[in-house]
């Protein structure tokens, strides 16, 4: 806003700016064919999902771990901050309610574990289409899940016990539990390759062989058992692979690993960061032996999704904490100084390799980028998951329900009717008290209402802002704040007319300068409240704070772009300038208080 010079304000231009603003918001509404606000849980219901923790032998997880999971899910689900989802614990389950129907996809993403690891690649191998299949597993096209590479399919992340046609693990001993309990302890809850090898006769190693391997610290590749009976024994499965420094047990897993079968890709594995790991690429095109994780998800300070400069590729940008940054620098330096394929650092999410880029130079400074065929949605989701940390538990969705509103329609209608009655009362009061000026007051409220409505609709469709009952009540209260702004201004105009005996046109300008300061300071207080609440609070409070900040901004817009220029225009009319009895600026009102002789204006101090 330019400072209005005291005599030469251009009210017409200012009003045009306002008109442009309203048209822009209205145009957006029409273009998006969105005419009604999106409503929150309490007004329109939504989707309720029950998550059950997946634990060993179905023991209930400790309370503090559940609480941590609840908090992380709550932060993730309210990642956008203004949709007001609810998260609550129910026994050892977690119940999430998200406004709007058909949100189960969103909840699926909220409930994924998101354990992130950065591991140096030690060995890798392209997945071959198996010859003379011993299994009947169909080979999926490698690009089968390329559309959502970063999204671990939680329906695929079945545990061994649910794998076996629903038979609980406790009663059915796994026929093929690998004897190398030590190496696999971390992956017990996961469908280890060994477990899925039950279909392949002879795939299990004899314990004796395993022990031999364990004792031979320097296992030669040939000592590694051939995990695939279909390959001739003479063929060395690790030909051309530098096996130096690889834990033989992990190498054995690596050899058995059949990434062509999607069920084997180990998604949802809680891979132990302190151990080496054999894993698959998301689309199954490669399998890897990976070093211990030097950098993990907890080293991340914040994550955000964005488009890489100069390209159209979506990436997830990571900022590490100081310790993480140092480790990241070390890890990339080590990779940079290594031979192919050890010059790659794999990004492992929930046990699956999202991407394993070559390190072309050491990366200091604590920033990293993850690429991997993201689109905007998947990049944003992964960033949100990483930002709020990994879940300490794995969850299954045990039920998904569409639920109705918690308040019932009667409350919403009651609130709206009451709000309208209240507005009508305000209109009547303004007209009685301010007469001609009351018209300005009423029109200001109308403009504020239009702006608020369009803003809420546009934000609902573009930022998932959902209106709930408290917001509506907050908007009703903001009527008072908006009204106050022009009341302050009107009273100032009266003062100016009394004291300075100025013409109305001059008084309008001088009063504005003084009223403007009051309005801005008072609105700043509301705005500070809104900002603090938005950034520090959670869930419902954040949405409310957002609404509060919005109405405060709208108040300022209305006063600056409508009330003031409109009065400046009216001041040119005879009706007001000459103080018509109905104008609200009549002689009676403007008269000095003669009867009591007391000073009514403080300016005589």
């Amino acid at each position: 806003m330019a400072r209005p010079t005291s005599r030469h304000s251009r009210p017409g231009r200012t009003l045009l700016v306002l008109l442009a603003l309203i048209l822009a918001l209205g145009g957006t509404m029409f273009l998006q064919k969105a005419f009604t606000p999106k409503l929150g849980l309490d007004l329109a219901g939504g989707t309720t999902v029950t998550l059950s923790p997946v634990t060993l032998n179905n023991a209930a997880p400790p309370d503090e771990i559940l609480d941590r999971a609840v908090n992380i899910i709550r932060e993730r689900v309210n990642g956008t901050g203004i949709s007001d989802a609810e998260v609550a614990k129910s026994g050892s389950n977690i119940i999430i309610s998200i406004p709007g129907v058909g949100q189960s996809e969103a909840i699926k993403l909220v409930a994924t574990t998101a354990e992130l690891r950065f591991r140096q690649v030690l060995a890798m191998e392209a997945t071959q289409v198996p010859q003379n299949l011993a299994t009947n597993a169909p080979t999926p096209s490698p690009s089968g899940s390329a559309s959502q590479p970063a999204t671990p399919k939680s329906d695929k992340s079945t545990t061994p016990r649910s794998d076996k046609s629903g038979a609980p693990a406790a009663s059915t001993p796994q026929p093929s539990v690998s004897p190398t309990g030590k190496a696999l302890s971390s992956a017990l809850t996961a469908p280890t390759p060994a477990a899925s090898a039950t279909a392949q006769p002879g795939a299990t190693d004899t314990p004796q062989k395993q022990q031999n391997k364990g004792q031979n610290a320097k296992a030669t590749p040939t000592a590694a058992p051939s995990g695939q009976p279909s390959t001739p024994p003479a063929q060395n499965p690790n030909a051309g692979v530098n096996t130096q420094g690889i834990d033989p047990a992990v190498l054995a897993q690596f050899n058995k690993l059949d990434c062509a079968n999607p069920a084997n890709r180990g998604q949802g594995v809680q891979d132990d960061p302190k151990k080496q790991y054999a894993g698959c690429e998301t689309d199954g095109s490669y399998k890897y032996v990976l070093d211990v994780a030097k950098v993990v998800g907890t080293d991340i300070d914040t994550a955000s999704a964005g488009v890489r400069q100069g390209t159209v590729e979506w990436v997830v940008q990571l900022d590490f904490k100081s310790k993480g940054a140092a480790e990241w620098s070390k890890l990339t330096t080590a990779a940079y100084n290594s031979q192919e394929p050890r010059n790659k650092v794999a990004v492992v999410l929930d046990g699956v390799v999202i991407t394993a880029p070559n390190i072309i130079s050491p990366i200091p400074g604590g920033r990293a980028e993850i690429t991997g065929g993201f689109d905007q949605v998947s990049a944003t989701q992964l960033a949100d998951q990483l930002k709020y940390g990994a879940l300490p538990l794995k969850f299954n969705r045990s039920s998904v329900d569409t639920v109705s509103s918690t308040l019932g329609q009667d409350q919403l209608q009651g609130g709206l009717v009451a709000g309208l009655i209240g507005l009508a009362l305000v209109v009547v009061y303004s007209m009685l008290y301010y007469r001609g000026l009351g018209l300005v007051a009423v029109l200001s409220l109308v403009v504020a209402t239009i702006l608020t409505y369009t803003a809420v609709v546009v934000l609902g469709h573009n930022a998932n802002f959902r209106l709930s009952l408290p917001h509506i009540i907050g908007l009703v209260v903001s009527i008072g704040i908006t009204a106050d702004s022009f009341i302050v201004y009107f009273e100032r105009i009266r003062d100016e007319m009394k004291e300075g005996h100025r013409t109305l046109r001059a008084a309008v300008e001088v009063a504005w300068v003084r009223a403007r300061r009051t309005i801005l300071i008072a609105d700043a207080v509301m705005f500070i409240a809104a900002i603090v609440l938005y950034f520090l609070a959670v869930g419902g409070v954040a949405g409310f704070a957002f609404a509060m900040g919005l109405t405060t901004l709208i108040d300022i817009v209305v006063v600056f772009l409508f009330t003031k220029p409109f009065i400046a225009l009216l001041a040119r009319l005879k009706f007001f300038a000459k103080g018509h009895p109905l104008s609200g600026l009549d002689a009676e009102r403007m008269s000095e208080a003669g009867s009591s002789g007391r000073p009514t204006t403080p300016q005589e101090a």
Binding site: D67, V70, E86, V403, A418, G422, V476, A522, V541, A593
Partner: protein, 331 residues
Amino acid sequence: MGLARRLYRGEINVDFVGQWRLWYSLSGILLLISIAGLLINGLNLGVEFRGGTVFSFKSEQATVQTVREAVLNEGAHQAIVQSAGTGGWRVTTESLPENTREQVQSQIAKDFNTPVGQVSVQAIGPSWGGEVSQKAWIGLGVFMLAIILYLSMAFEPKMAMSAIVALIHDLVITAGIYAWSGFEVTPATLLGFLTILGYSLYDAVVVFDMIKEVTAKLGHTSKMTYSMAANNALNHTLIRSLNTSLVAILPVAAILFIGTTLLGAGTLKDLSLALFVGMIVGTYSSLCVATPLLVTLKEREPKYQAIARRLASTGSGKGPKGSKSAAVAKG
């Protein structure tokens, strides 16, 4: 009519500041009653804060109304009824003791023709649990600090302190009313509190802005003490304060009226009560708590003490005695 006319013409002069003893004792009594209520009764926290019991069952003929009645008749005090999926129902109540749980369960089974075994009962934890509340408290603390800083810069530290004290005064009294009435405190209520918080400050800021403007003119030769000047400023903005409060309270009063008469119990009633009380108290505190407090603080400053002494010796230092001042001394 005479009063309204004088109000209309801005000729009213109430001695707000001079009556500080009255306001302080009135507020003191209100605060004591409120704190007593909070200590004796405590707040009736809703399911969202304390967790509760969830009943789920399937029934084709149930409606929100019949389900709510069935549950409330069996001793539950709060019931959130939702339809879930096709023909399914979810009722969330406060945490019920075991015998009440069983009563509700069998009542539902009887009323809606389902076997008792088909009515599942689960405990549910708070969706606004400890961590959320803790964050809210931290937020409140940071907010107050930010406001003190901001008002100290925009006005002065003493005004900031007075405004915050008035704010706490409003919150405690509103909370006290909840404690005594036993109305349920839901997240919606909490948001009502937050609105009051903003509104109360807003009101005080507008009043202080005028006081600052008027008292800035005080100097060695002025004919007014700080008290008199502040009181003048108050009277000057009185018409604005009353107008604004009226305009803001009218819609809230409409919601409260409709919420309590037509809709029976519900969120609307809880919320509008918080706002209605809070706004009235907020208007009162801007005029009768924040300003006298500010004057008490400011009159200790040597500059204003000097003015007061000088005026007292010349005998003109008597505060303005507004005719009929008591008649309109209600904020």
